[in-house]
């Protein structure tokens, strides 16, 4: 029996999760929600995490009905992400590792998402679409690495959605993307937006500038409603993502797609991806907001896999790093 506690705080969510042999024992989290029209800044986000991490740790232990003595190792997010919030969480993880005398494991955030998605959906060897506020990647496993087949060449898809939500002054509660998704359901008039797929890669910054500049005017002139713009934005960016995912599948002869990351809980994206999968005779795997959106259990799960193959982090290496690519990690736990 192996029990791992995982700490995640690379963006505006702070989460503590406990995993025991594939079972999620607890997974509480708290989101730093900023006022409409505003994003989250590193130092305020770090302060938020600092305020909540210890109570969340207590809550996780209580919900899991275990004591700290039963924990085998502590996993924390090493990167990628925002420096100050990552460091706040790493400091607490290091302190607990010494207090409890447990090994510590620095986890790549993207690997956390992939391993959590695989655990929850039981997908065996899927082509992974990882879409969030900070990352947009199409990934496939090959010879001990999660290889990046395609990715964004500028901003992440979630960042594009979040920033457009700021233009419309949508609420950030529970998340800007969720509110865009709800608005889009009532949109019907499609505004043609720049569709930017370059081989296996995508680009969203031009599209964002376009809609940021013209959107408010079009609404003012009553040519489009904010709902129409949300709808047009979603349809365009999701079509781009489905296209590169399909190309990666065709390249790898894959029959499975797994969507992970915060944007992955968008039901419209899942619907479009499912349609593509049906046409190719493939299966779509996706999870809901509990496991798609950043959480502690995903870090615990990746930590669990690493722990079982002896990938414990030496103390001097328990640092954080804002840049940490998915393909930098050797995946020793898979064949």
């Amino acid at each position: 029996m192996v029990t791992i506690i995982g700490f995640e705080g690379s963006a505006n969510k702070i989460g503590v999760g406990i995993i025991r042999d594939g079972q999620v024992l607890a997974n509480p989290r708290h989101t730093y929600v900023t006022p409409p029209g505003q994003g989250f800044m590193p130092s305020e986000t770090a302060k938020h995490h600092k305020e909540h991490i210890l109570s969340l740790t207590k809550q996780a232990l209580e919900e899991a009905k275990i004591t700290w003595q039963e924990i085998d190792a502590i996993a924390y997010t090493k990167g990628p992400g925002m420096g100050a919030p990552l460091l706040t969480v790493a400091i607490v993880a290091r302190t607990l590792a010494q207090l409890w005398q447990k090994p510590i494991i620095g986890v790549n955030h993207c690997i956390g998402h992939i391993e959590m998605g695989r655990l929850i959906t039981s997908a065996e060897n899927p082509t992974v679409l990882y879409v969030s506020g900070g990352n947009t990647q199409v990934i496939s496993y090959e010879n001990k690495r999660y290889r990046i087949f395609g990715e964004t060449i500028d901003i992440a898809v979630g960042n594009c959605l979040d920033r457009f939500a700021r233009v419309l002054k949508l609420s950030n509660d529970p998340s800007p993307g969720f509110n865009i998704e709800q608005m889009a359901k009532n949109g019907s008039k499609y505004l043609e937006l720049p569709y930017c797929v370059k081989g296996m890669d995508v680009s969203f910054s031009g599209l964002l500038s376009f809609i940021e500049q013209r959107g408010p005017k079009l609404v003012e002139q009553k040519k489009y409603t904010p709902e129409d713009l949300c709808y047009s934005l979603q349809e365009t960016v999701f079509a781009m993502l489905v296209e590169i995912t399909e190309r990666a599948m065709s390249h790898c002869n894959s029959r499975e797609v797994l969507i992970v990351g915060g944007v992955g809980c968008n039901l419209r994206l899942q619907e479009m991806m499912r349609k593509m999968c049906e046409e190719r005779n493939a299966i779509l795997f996706a999870t809901d907001d509990r496991f798609c959106i950043d959480n502690g259990a995903m870090i615990a799960q990746a930590g669990y896999e690493m722990f079982k193959v002896g990938m414990v982090t030496p103390w001097e290496k328990t640092t954080i790093t804002q840049r940490f690519r998915t393909d930098q990690v050797e995946i020793n736990w898979r064949k």
Partner: protein, 82 residues
């Protein structure tokens, strides 16, 4: 390098164990801008000394502030989970 700004903090702790935890936790991280600031941490059984040498007061202030914040965070964690 003789016009450097310096700062030094010595923080006493209630026991050697706490001082060691603070020292071990802090010593791992490097200053992000190594060419502009230098930081040294030492453990002297039940206290921790941090010393800085920096070219700009702003960078020095940010680093001192963040070390104090981290020490606060470490101590809160110790008090709640020891």
């Amino acid at each position: 390098m003789n016009d450097l700004l310096t700062a030094q903090l010595t923080i006493p702790f209630s026991c050697q164990k706490h001082a060691k935890i603070v020292y071990e936790t802090l010593r791992v991280d490097q200053e992000p801008r190594k060419n502009l600031i230098k930081r040294e941490i030492s453990l002297n059984p039940s206290s921790v000394t941090v010393a800085w040498w920096a070219k700009e007061s702003r960078i020095l202030r940010v680093s001192v502030q963040s070390i104090i914040d981290h020490i606060h965070s470490i101590l809160t964690t110790i008090h709640q989970f020891e």
